[in-house]
Symmetry: C2
Subunit: 348 residues, 2 copies
């Protein structure tokens, strides 16, 4: 017997920033849109694009760089919107351990934790700019357990988000009597001269065949999560209480703090952002993840009106001049401001 239930696989164990998906379920927004949704959590984030891309799961969430990498590897996924916009991402460490400093070169000889394959690629590329090779540090694949591995001391540093792993480490450091300031982050966007943390923006993604065959379901899904996002932003305290009723395991101070820190990152219109896609496409090239044959796998056409606009058509081909423009721009503005959009709007 078949089912009409849409399967949706999260990018990570359910955490505070997944609140729009869970409230769309709890508050009946999916049902009101005439769809039934099963929210699933992964055990290994590295499974997500492969499973969705092969069509075993319909929709899900994933960071932009992984969404691009998946397409480049032949997995049929497309971004249909944005959940979390440019969360600060970087290499987290404890200052008191005395091993790592604000100088990236201090990572030499250290154990650096990463989530999955592309975290390793990113670190390898970063270290190359600082005269290091992968042999100069020990990369440790830790999946979702970056913060825990730092606490246990099995890694000296690890890649994480400002609103999730950094909060967890700060709370823990405080409980250990060392204070929140003991947690340091080497921001990847600054180190890599990216100008934004958009490579780590968390997107709503879908299997291409599913999207093509079920455009109305995809629209209904996005209308429901948009409505839930609006609710979260309008009534954050109430929304958090509703989420905790559904997910009691998140009902502690730590998760509330992660939620508070996540609020600024929620995409307001859920749109894929041209500027970000262009930068991350170029970054992916630099990482050797994509080549000139890559066509951007994102669309805003299924979003409610306010999130539509670019890209009407996915963009492929020549982005090769873009990094130069961005790098020149960034020398003067470490965190790329909106004005950069003007530069990137021209399709090169």
């Amino acid at each position: 017997m078949s089912t009409d239930k849409i399967t949706v696989l999260l990018n990570w164990a359910a955490n505070p920033y997944h609140i729009p998906l869970y409230l769309a379920q709890k508050l009946g927004y999916f049902r009101d849109e005439g769809i039934a949704v099963a929210l699933l959590e992964p055990s290994d984030p590295s499974d997500v694009t492969e499973i969705i891309g092969s069509g075993k799961i319909d929709l899900g969430c994933k960071a932009m760089i992984h969404t691009i990498a998946a397409k480049a590897r032949g997995f049929d996924v497309t971004s249909i919107g944005t959940l979390l916009d440019e969360p600060f991402t970087g290499v987290l460490y404890l200052k008191s351990a005395g091993k790592i400093t604000e100088d990236f070169s201090s990572l030499k000889g250290k154990r650096i934790g990463y989530v999955g394959e592309f975290g390793k690629i990113i670190i390898d590329e970063l270290t190359s700019h600082y005269g290091m090779t992968p042999a100069d540090y020990t990369a440790v694949r830790v999946g979702m357990n970056v913060a825990d591995a730092i606490k246990r001391g099995t890694i000296d540093a690890g890649v994480g988000l400002e609103n999730i792993q950094q909060v967890e480490l700060e709370e823990w450091s405080e409980s250990q009597g060392r204070g929140r300031d003991d947690v340091g982050m080497l921001r990847i966007d600054e180190l890599a001269d990216l100008g934004c943390c958009c490579f780590c923006s968390v997107l709503y993604i879908g299997n291409d065949k599913f999207i093509k065959e079920n455009p109305e379901k995809v629209r209904a899904f996005l209308r429901a999560v948009k409505k839930a996002t609006d609710h979260v932003l309008a009534h954050p305290e109430k929304a958090w209480g509703q989420y905790v009723e559904m997910k009691p395991v998140l009902g502690d101070e730590l998760n509330k703090k992660m939620f508070d820190r996540s609020l600024i990152y929620f995409s307001r219109n859920l749109g894929n952002v041209q500027r970000d896609w262009t930068k991350v496409t170029n970054y992916s090239r630099r990482l050797g993840v994509t080549d000139l044959n890559y066509t951007q796998n994102c669309t805003n056409e299924y979003l409610p009106e306010e999130g539509r606009g670019w890209p009407a058509e996915p963009v492929g081909g020549l982005f090769h001049e873009m990094p130069v423009l961005i790098l020149i721009h960034q020398k003067h503005t470490p965190r790329l401001p909106k004005v950069a959009t003007a530069l990137t709007k021209r399709r090169l």
Copy 2:
């Protein structure tokens, strides 16, 4: 692009009794068997058989009564083994609340929490034996949040397992200064004259088409989880430490206690047990979930040698005399001992 990854959907958020699945992953037992597995967690346990039965997910876990009910509804799932054998299951409540006693009739007028649809069917049937109708109590669907809802006071009682929700409530009661003994359980097996909690045995299940097309993968999967189960039983402390490394969220005293209480329930040979299947098939009939057309959807043929044996062939048809025999037997032995196997071995 397709994937060889086998998707496995748990029956519940990852908890201590899922340890064999996670250690089969962590310790490389799946890889050693030549298979790749993605472990997924549900947000709503009621999604599981529908998603697996429709073929959207390959394998998973589910309680016996739900596995039977799914088949009866036309979802193509079959049990291929047993994870957890007869965990005590019942209606949990706090004695100090002064509302519910050891007399089942005390549930009248109360708010009773249940997980999904079949929990409601079970409670409705139980209450009918005590002169109540569904109108005599308020059923509240709480999904995976039974213990939390009791703590919050949004329900007066709720269906849960001795090794999971009861442990959580006991720990909480102690932290509230009321002691563990404040937690009471009305055992469903005793109330319903079942003679075992096998209706709640947690099984390894699979989609029928997937099983038929991938018999060697199913065998490899079961060999790997059997090996992990052996490891857990031989070295429980070490195994627990390994699991917590993988799932730090379980790294507290509460989950360790749940693990300790779960140890006796792990199926040693992973076999489906004829006695249990017969009783639960009859119970399903009594609940109106199945009829005479139902053929038992379980097989031991994919298990390692020691778990094989019955049933070589699924059993269908006439089980109608069985409940009588069991009920007679139970009058003398509240918790049905092994000797009952002799009675049920004859296929009626």
